[in-house]
Symmetry: D5
Subunit: 118 residues, 10 copies
Amino acid sequence: MSENRQLLETFENQFPDRDYKIEIVAPEFTSVCPKTGQPDYGTITILYTPDKVCIELKSLKMYLQSFRNQGIYYEHVTNTMLDDLATVSKPRWMKIEAAFNARGGITETVTAQYTAAM
Amino acid sequence: MSENRQLLETFENQFPDRDYKIEIVAPEFTSVCPKTGQPDYGTITILYTPDKVCIELKSLKMYLQSFRNQGIYYEHVTNTMLDDLATVSKPRWMKIEAAFNARGGITETVTAQYTAAM
Amino acid sequence: MSENRQLLETFENQFPDRDYKIEIVAPEFTSVCPKTGQPDYGTITILYTPDKVCIELKSLKMYLQSFRNQGIYYEHVTNTMLDDLATVSKPRWMKIEAAFNARGGITETVTAQYTAAM
Amino acid sequence: MSENRQLLETFENQFPDRDYKIEIVAPEFTSVCPKTGQPDYGTITILYTPDKVCIELKSLKMYLQSFRNQGIYYEHVTNTMLDDLATVSKPRWMKIEAAFNARGGITETVTAQYTAAM
Amino acid sequence: MSENRQLLETFENQFPDRDYKIEIVAPEFTSVCPKTGQPDYGTITILYTPDKVCIELKSLKMYLQSFRNQGIYYEHVTNTMLDDLATVSKPRWMKIEAAFNARGGITETVTAQYTAAM
Amino acid sequence: MSENRQLLETFENQFPDRDYKIEIVAPEFTSVCPKTGQPDYGTITILYTPDKVCIELKSLKMYLQSFRNQGIYYEHVTNTMLDDLATVSKPRWMKIEAAFNARGGITETVTAQYTAAM
Amino acid sequence: MSENRQLLETFENQFPDRDYKIEIVAPEFTSVCPKTGQPDYGTITILYTPDKVCIELKSLKMYLQSFRNQGIYYEHVTNTMLDDLATVSKPRWMKIEAAFNARGGITETVTAQYTAAM
Amino acid sequence: MSENRQLLETFENQFPDRDYKIEIVAPEFTSVCPKTGQPDYGTITILYTPDKVCIELKSLKMYLQSFRNQGIYYEHVTNTMLDDLATVSKPRWMKIEAAFNARGGITETVTAQYTAAM
Amino acid sequence: MSENRQLLETFENQFPDRDYKIEIVAPEFTSVCPKTGQPDYGTITILYTPDKVCIELKSLKMYLQSFRNQGIYYEHVTNTMLDDLATVSKPRWMKIEAAFNARGGITETVTAQYTAAM
Amino acid sequence: MSENRQLLETFENQFPDRDYKIEIVAPEFTSVCPKTGQPDYGTITILYTPDKVCIELKSLKMYLQSFRNQGIYYEHVTNTMLDDLATVSKPRWMKIEAAFNARGGITETVTAQYTAAM
């Protein structure tokens, strides 16, 4: 389990009877490449349908910043975020897209999705 | 029930036999953050298929302006608008998308949908 | 029935055995608001699959210009055009999208569709 | 049958076991309006899944240039190209989109599709 | 089999229980036309769902560079890459899109797809 | 003298001691071609430094609308507007740019300038 | 003198020996039309070369928000801001550009400039 | 002297006392490469200040079309047009920019200017 | 003096007889706000004419990264970079533009310039 | 002297009495980094006023391709091209801008200029 997870806070969803969609775009994400120690930069997009709670935006900002000096791979950071955010907010459905800036002229985007068990 | 709702006016749909679509985009929406008292800005997009009545645009403008100095959360304002507009215009189908400007480098868009009971 | 309809001309579809699609975009549409007398401006997009005839473009231009000084609502003008064009050209399928310029900071687009009875 | 058709050449598809897609965009198409004698300009987009052969690009360029001084209607040129290209290359599936530049402020795009009989 | 294939390296997929998507865009691809000896330029987009391993990006860069002075057709290079990458990484699903720059005013994009046998 | 000129109204410039610049863009201008009777469309841009008065925007809108059904050439309408606006508002400096939509695939923009005599 | 002026704060310019340029863009400005009571929206751009002090950004945000419910004309608000900001920060040079959103299809931008007396 | 020149017509400049600017953009120019016989495509931009006459747009269109099947180099066609247009319209100042589409991945733009002798 | 300065390396300018211009754009700059401890993000643009040496790009990357966890104001970081880069590379002329991302809906860009004493 | 220079060919300038401008854009330039052996990519823009001869475009393409597998620095390649092209074509004035793709998130553009001695 990621230690950063405890930074995340939620608040009560006031419209639990309706399936609606929340999209959050955070274009200022940065972490560190575990191999080279060089910083990576990217845009994190979170799409979800809340169930009992919504994700509080300021705590999400702190959570995303907690990766700032952490060495972690593109595929790993995307799936870890999905695990953390889904565990904390228990959404009906969630998708995370992490689009990283070009390195060596090559760009990578990782997209992972979660659906609540019925 | 929102007090602003009574600002909304409608007019008769002259083509009730046809299922057609109306999209309204209002990029000058502003309300106030209930926590910090700071203004929020966003673009409201309303998509609907009218049944007996259409939403009158000038009254919609006044309705949207009624949030100008009101403290309200992103998720709340979107769902409240959907409740108000669906109650007043009784559409066959309606979707509201509220795209709020970046705060702390993070953007949020909330989308909620309504379908008339058959 | 709209008087403008008689301006529309058609020509024979030389490929009636094939279901193909024609898209016409007319970005210089203008009519007059029936309430205020002020001009409205918009872009009309017509999509259709011809059956026995195609719509002649020059006559369509004259038809669209016939609304220039006519007072008519957004919803009305879109559905009237669909009725006129479908009656004259008897297409297998037709869709009209009328996207009007912002008034009071608010934009409206009306989309209506027609399918020939089997 | 169009005389231009004999300009088209093909080469063997080296991956016939795989259904794959080829998109060709030719933005420098020009022909002549049969009514006014004035030149028309447009962009031709060809999408197809090859079967036994692929279309050779240089011969396609010569084929498209053969319309340069020919008088032909939008709808006619699009469907004629589809007939010519499908006859010569016998694709599994083919779609041609011809988007013509504005005349009198009005733009037209014609799209026609072909599917091989099973 | 392409000799370049042995340049490709992979690493273990740490989230094999989840079907997720990786998109890689490499806009600096160049090879040589086998007919004219002139260089071709294009953008390679690789989309896949990893199974046991992910493709290592630095080795992919070296693999793509190995075509730099090789004479090969558009259709051939696209399908060869798909064969190489699918063989080495055994993905659940993979799609490659190769969009080549205009030659003689004409642009071609080839798209091929692979699905693992069940 | 143009009859439309009397539609223009002005209001007092409250900062006459400062040379400042006002730019007005009106993209919904339409007049009629005096030769063909066909409507022309364009964007009028007015740049000026006020002296004693500023141009009132609502009256400017009515002034621009007064050309709606008037037959007038591009070069003529631009220079006439400059004469009317400069006579009514007596600016220190004024420039009018009229950019007309394409006709026969050709676009024309006319720009004329006025400087107050010292 | 504008009452809002006292909201503005400054901090010491640590590089007074160098003539350098600061550009601030505030796209979320809103005030109220003094005639109609309807809200106006615009983007304020401030360009200046500091002398002894720089403008503190948070206080500038509060200053700009102080116009939120104030009725004021475009030309007036621009020149008033220039007076307030120049008085408080005594820059070597300052320019303010206020670009207001379209009303009735017409956009206005006001630009005013200040230079310190030598 | 170019034979096409006699296609050009002019009309009287009604505002000869004012130095004003006319910009004409013709994006549908096509001629033929004198070496290869292949068609070239480009955008012709003409900027001038009229003296006694203005260039009539329809005759200009015919003049530009007269190059359609003529073999001529980029540098030659640009300077020839400048000679023809300046001779016929005797402007106070004229500039022609001819921007040709890419051939072999390389684009060329030629710009030539004329000033009337004082 | 900034401690980061010693990270910068240079190499010999092989064309010292020619005044030429080098522009470097680094869009992945990040530092920390000294007041709030929150990260700031921006794009650094460096323009200079080299004299005896050029700035080595890899060392520049390391220099820019040295601000990653440092608390420093916008105006300060821009002028400090100019001092460091001008001291190390002794250019004939240098300009630095630092464009920071929006905070509270407001964007700031600082531009400072250096000219070698004659 | 660069060995590639002999690839360049010229042809006679037919309008030597006129100072006119030729701009050539070549977006498919590639060379190799002399340190890492990795390919670099960029766009070369050449602006010049011809004197007695113009640069022949096909020979220029071959000249630019001669750098394809050559190890050379950004600053060096730009100045070498300027030397080669100015020596061969003896223009009245020439400017070369070489804009290289990002490496390590940092982009560099080098611009050098030549003026003929009077």
